[in-house]
Amino acid sequence: MKGDQMNELTVEETQKKLLVDHVIALGDDALILSQRLIEWCSNAPFLEEDLALSNVALDFLGRARMLYQYAVELEGNVRTEDDIAFLRDSREFKNHLIYELPRGDFAFSMARQLIIDVYNSLFLEQLLQSKDERLAAIAQKSIKETQYHLRRSQEWIFRLGDGTTESHQRLQTAMDDLWGYSKELFESHPSETSLIEAGIAVDRTKLQDAWRTKMNTILAQATLEQPDDNWHQTGGRDGLHSDHLGMLLPELQFMQRAYPDLEW
């Protein structure tokens, strides 16, 4: 793989590689979530929801593109954003695990979306202050869209949680199944340490308390129980993924793999 001669890199080059990897990881988060959201296209409960979910998926795809484009520029344009999206295998993807989980039932997708939207609203607020101008600019653009996303997902949680017996039960199950995956969002990762010190990356460990407070308020209003807190899954930033990513990537990448350099 290009750029793997770590032993020969200067401090500056190492720092740049860490930045590129970090930007790509953030892009992976967005791309994988976008892919899961777009799976609802033509499968949503009703037409307006089909449009809405596709619309949200598009926002995240755009976010992934902005991040991948930045990574490509940092690397000196030795590859394209399409190469990053379509020609890497699961070990090279560094998204957090929560994004790659299958879309499940509607309650599951809404629960996951709420977790992510609350997280993003806090995360992007911090990223606005990044010393990296491009990341700050991407955050400025993304946070406006996230505010709309959060309003939407909150509404669904209230509607489903404080809804029928079935919707309540499905949503509770969804939250219970997702809770352990949320913790990875707030774990520190060694690849980010020096970037945090440089004021470039966000220290995500500091976001956990605010996230919990906000989540608990929403859960309470939706008449949901707080899920069990005694388990968690991790590994995404190390490229250690579940089977689910292994299923998602062939679908995402099929065209480019089957017809290399394909263009419309």
């Binding site: 307006e48 929801e49 449009l51 809405a52 979910l53 619309n55 949200v56 598009l58 926002d59 995240f60 795809l61 755009g62 976010r63 593109r65 902005m66 101008e133 491009r134 700050a136 600019a137 991407i138 400025q140 653009k141 993304s142 406006k144 869209e145 505010q147 709309y148 309003r151 939407r152």
Partner: protein, 184 residues
């Protein structure tokens, strides 16, 4: 911020937003008026009545010898129209004798509907799209009128409509659905 002042019972007098006024001043001071006018021909691919200028996408026209740089600001992260807009700019300028054209997509300052021109808002309304209403940040707007019958009795069906920038509403008076261009 308000972009309309109400005078008498129904007449609405459009008032320029401060952000749009700044943009307009910048354009008026430019020494490349011909280029700005030329670019007014480029409309949004999805909403063919509104130009890049009206939408607040077109930011600057820079000329260095014979090289032209057009600065635009992307709207929504995933908006697919931006690709077409970029190529439209290239094509139009090439066709009009400008051989060296660069389109610079500038992320920051972030695109906001506050940059929309007053004319642009009117054209949206005439086209059947309710223009952005930004009097309260981060809350659902409360002063949207149906573009068909002008009633204020409207309800939101979905804040995520047919395109990234639009929400779907329905008028409770005439029962017609309509698009609302979201404030961002």
């Amino acid at each position: 911020m308000t972009n309309t002042a109400v005078h008498s019972s129904a007449q609405v007098i459009p008032v320029k937003s401060p952000e749009y006024a700044i943009r307009l001043l910048h354009r008026q001071k430019s020494s490349h008026q011909a280029l700005w006018l030329l670019l007014d021909q480029i409309k949004d691919p999805e909403i063919p009545v509104i130009s890049l200028w009206d939408l607040g996408i077109l930011q600057d026209v820079l000329v260095n010898d014979s090289a032209v740089t057009i600065v635009i600001t992307p709207t929504y992260s995933g908006c697919p129209a931006m690709v077409e807009i970029t190529s439209d700019i290239q094509t139009l300028l090439n066709e009009n004798g400008y051989a060296k054209v660069t389109v610079d997509s500038r992320l920051t300052p972030t695109w906001t509907t506050d940059w929309m021109s007053t004319d642009g808002r009117e054209r949206l309304r005439e086209y059947g799209i309710a223009p952005p209403s930004c009097q309260t940040k981060n809350a659902e707007p409360t002063d949207i009128q149906c573009p068909q019958c002008h009633s204020s009795d409207v309800r939101v069906i979905s804040e995520f409509g047919s395109t990234s920038c639009k929400a779907l509403y329905q008028c409770q008076n005439c029962r017609e659905p309509f698009d609302y261009f979201k404030c961002i």
